[in-house]
Point group: C2
Chain length 179, copies 2
Amino acid sequence: MSDVRLTTSSFFVLGIIDKLGEASPYDVKTEAARTVAPFWSMPHAQVYAQCDRLLEGGLLSQVRRESGRNRRVLTLTGQGLAVLRGWLDDPEFVPVEARERGILKLWFGGRPDVLAPAQLGEHEKTLRGYEELVGGVGELGELLAPGQREALEFGIRYERMMIDFWEWARHRDERTQDR
Amino acid sequence: MSDVRLTTSSFFVLGIIDKLGEASPYDVKTEAARTVAPFWSMPHAQVYAQCDRLLEGGLLSQVRRESGRNRRVLTLTGQGLAVLRGWLDDPEFVPVEARERGILKLWFGGRPDVLAPAQLGEHEKTLRGYEELVGGVGELGELLAPGQREALEFGIRYERMMIDFWEWARHRDERTQDR
DNA sequence: ACCGTCATGTAATCGGTTACATGATTCT
DNA sequence: AGAATCATGTAACCGATTACATGACGGT
């Protein structure tokens, strides 16, 4: 019940447990890896730590089971749900530095012709993965939970942007160079 | 001279000092704040820590001055320069999670109509800033150091992408809702 | 002489990562 | 019965953040 500082990791865990209804830390880890992983991830040690903290803060409640596996099952408390909802509805804008190492390298003089190919390859691969996901959903008529389609759309737009960017950088580099 | 683990923060400091030729930790901090800040930043305590580490690792050399201010002036050693160059030319792709809190909120059920306005406002503001920078450079014929134009281009494309995305999300939300 | 901010650092803390460890199942 | 992996955690370390502290210089 003591006051706990809530980081995005906290809300991440709260969010996953809310979606699952109840979950062991292991379930949280698994579900996260299966779904949000491309947009946000967390090592499992951290999941356990967060669960402990959230329990202590009264945002989660725990049932211990005597059977071997799934020894702890966690649920949001009323307070936990309220806190999660509050966060979700908070339009605060947190400026994010892109922290793209490739961009930093360019800044310090990294050469586009050296960097671009690998970047392009990887972004194209990721993009194909996303697009297949969306396509598959359409074909099979499966539904993505609300919010997931949005995240996927973001992913697609991000990857497309990066591909366009690196192509731009590479071509600009070719034009600029005098060899 | 002992082995130091190099993080991106290390290369960040090396990169800044390389650009400046020689610099005190304070100079590093100031230059970083003045230039790369929108894409990458680092609290000054960390700059001091990195300088110490890089010194210990033999990647920086230091001249102590007896005068009060700018007591330490740092320069890249040959090894430091080699390490920086090696990093710049390394095309390794490090997958970055976007870690956009807004996207995470959408994932967990955050409402686009609640979130979008603030996000749009901020991204538009940032975009205007970047575009003015590029425009100003063109008009005055100033030159950006190589790499900086690229970083700025990335920033512009990123912001445009985010604006388009949030507009998409908001409109999709309007269409989807049955009120 | 005094005040602000410039320049430089240190200390404490904490979240996150990596690595290690182990009992519980399930499969062969 | 033994191997594999499932599920659960702990421990140690480390980089990063926050906060505090202080001498130096420049302006009034």
